[in-house]
Subunit: 395 residues, 2 copies
């Protein structure tokens, strides 16, 4: 059997992750080594995901990349680092009966067409680079029969594509270790908890109007590291304590503590953005209203039933428990006006009310698992590629 | 000569002060001892001031207080502390030729009518409690011929009325020392620099629309002390360094450094508010636009020509130098639309443009001196009291 003229292909999905203990600031820009460990929750890949088809052929003249139907430059240093390291770790491709189809040293002759799509709007402000780079690395690793030389090596490759992408390679609660090695080999992501006992957790993403100019997180955290005294202190002194408390809360299924630390972490991250010079603002007046709403809601209910967390943008991610979800959504409608909610793939009827220019829409999801292989053939219905290895859809 | 039936009176003014190194958080709530030293600039009393007339008589049945034409309760613990301590330090009242008119032990039979007015709108968000309490303490001290038992004692009394009031008892650049004594006797305000070489400095107060619910600074700083790890670090580790740099900048007439530290301090104070749990927000989207404007302006001009600072509210205080003022105001108009500007007592024509709902008005002032005695007689035109010791104007 010869694969000489065949197009090899794999199609995978990777999930979005939301940091509860925030990553902000690198101690090594090139290797993307963080100032502090971070902890995230992986979102259900059935609701939000990047899907990537990688096609490999000796006959392609170069590596190419399409994102959401549009060709993008693949020559960025970060993506090239990932591809190089994946090729280095490539393994032999064998058929089910063990026959050698492609020897590992042959991969260097193959070029890739990488076709990637997100099922969530860019406006969601979700870190599409995390699920995107995770899916990029995972898909290529699957195709190349990548062999890790140490546990977590694949996460160190994703990390070098986009820091938080390493956390999207695992499901449940994921810890991205800070590490101490200068080469970054110990700055890996690992599952802290499967999240099996947290299936009742609901994650409500509130997408708000965003007109402000945005500071990219790469540039933002660089300025923060250079100028914020508070960030240095936070990384060294506060995060380890909060991480340890969060770990216990996850283990003990203690929603109140998990929720409280999540809010404190979000606030402290944005405080460090404000302590940056010139200051960086990601929270808008609407974001602040949502924060106020959550504290009011919890006070009224006499406990901590909802938590918020915000990344490098104004959109809110709320955490609550299943039993509280309907009440929360009703309360949100009362305060912010009606907005469509997507829940288990179904969107509530879209009849935007005039006062709903604050929260545009919402997605309800839950904790989920890591990347998946959907198809190993270019002909599969899940494949994003045509038979000649081009995107099925382009814009 | 007997003063038995005469009304004794004194009328004084006290200035507003703006903190460049911020005061946020007490280490002793009762004595109002701060977590860290702070540094302020005293504003010209000709532009912004509290004016207070104190009338004393044996025949008044109780102490009474009128603020801006309306009677207020004077029984608050803080005001009572000030009055008690001022009575304790009272001295003999003598005529110009040295004749004893009232012996110090006689003062305990006198009651006060205190009539106070600010010449700036409450909407200015200026800490009216600072100039107000400073004027309260200064006026009574003048009337009672108060004798300090140690230098700065009067500032320790004002401090116990309202922390930052101690800084309004002096002109120029004023340092409020943190102190270490548990009784607070070393937490005094003192002039760090007369400001004589800073007469070219212009202070532009931008009053913005404010619709948000406000957290009082007393309650806010209490919650910050209890919950913000960043505030503790800031007080201990950052403020001493910034204060020392600011001291040098003032001495060396280094506007760039003074401006930079002022902005960093403002940002760090608001960062600590955000790190408070629940978080406190004083900056609105308009405040943030002003911050962005200042950074853009400085970048465009290729230097640090303007600084901003914000206290516990959304109004901005800008610092610039005289030669740059017209250009700055023109630039502000261009970005925020026209708004009236009060400069040396004269307000620019008030023709509010439709787009000027962001900055409502502005006051331009400069560095100034401490409290002044305007009149020592109730009949003086500056007196706020009628001949029988009541306010001339009430609402």
């Amino acid at each position: 059997m010869s694969l000489e003229n065949e197009l090899l292909s794999v199609t995978c999905t990777a999930p979005v992750n939301i940091a509860l203990i925030k990553y902000w600031g690198k101690r090594d820009e090139e290797k993307i080594l963080p100032l502090n460990p971070s902890l995230s929750i992986t979102l259900d890949v059935d609701d939000l995901r990047t899907k990537t088809t990688v096609v490999a052929s000796k006959h392609f003249d170069r590596d190419r990349l399409w994102l959401n139907g549009k060709e993008h430059d693949i020559s960025s240093k970060r993506m090239q680092t990932c591809i190089t390291k994946l090729r280095q770790g490539a393994g032999d491709l064998r058929s089910d009966d063990g026959t050698l189809l492609i020897a590992k040293e042959e991969w260097k002759h193959y070029r890739f067409h990488i076709i990637s799509e997100n099922n969530f709007p860019t406006a969601a402000g979700l870190a599409s680079s995390a699920s995107g780079l995770a899916c990029f690395v995972y898909s290529i690793s699957q195709l190349l029969c990548f062999k890790e030389t140490f546990p977590g090596e694949l996460t160190t490759i994703a990390r070098q594509g986009s820091g938080s992408a390493c956390r999207s390679l695992l499901g449940g609660f994921v810890l991205w270790e800070c590490g101490i090695a200068p080469d970054g080999t110990d700055s890996i992501a690992k599952q802290m908890d499967t999240g099996d006992k947290w299936k009742h957790l609901r994650i409500v993403i509130l997408i708000v109007n965003d007109q402000q100019k945005k500071t990219s997180s790469t540039a933002g955290m660089q300025t923060s590291v250079q100028t914020s005294d508070l960030l240095k202190f936070r990384s060294k002194e506060v995060v380890p304590v909060q991480l340890s408390r969060m770990r216990d809360a996850i283990k003990e299924e203690d929603f109140t503590t998990l929720a409280t630390i999540t809010m404190q972490e979000s606030n402290q991250f944005h405080a460090c953005c404000l302590d940056t010079f010139p200051p960086i603002f990601y929270l808008t007046d609407v974001s602040k209203e949502i924060i106020q709403f959550v504290h009011d809601y919890n006070a009224k209910c006499g406990g901590t039933f909802v938590a918020y967390t915000f990344d490098a943008g104004p959109n809110a991610v709320l955490l609550t428990q299943d039993e509280n979800l309907d009440k929360l959504v009703a309360s949100l409608y009362q305060r912010f006006g009606f907005f469509p909610v997507t829940r288990e793939g179904v969107t509530s009827s879209v009849c935007e009310s005039p006062q709903s220019d604050q929260i545009i829409r919402s997605i309800v999801t839950k904790i989920g698992e890591g990347p998946r292989v959907l198809a190993k053939s270019i002909d599969h219905e899940e494949s994003l590629a045509t038979k000649d290895g081009k995107p099925k859809f382009t814009i």
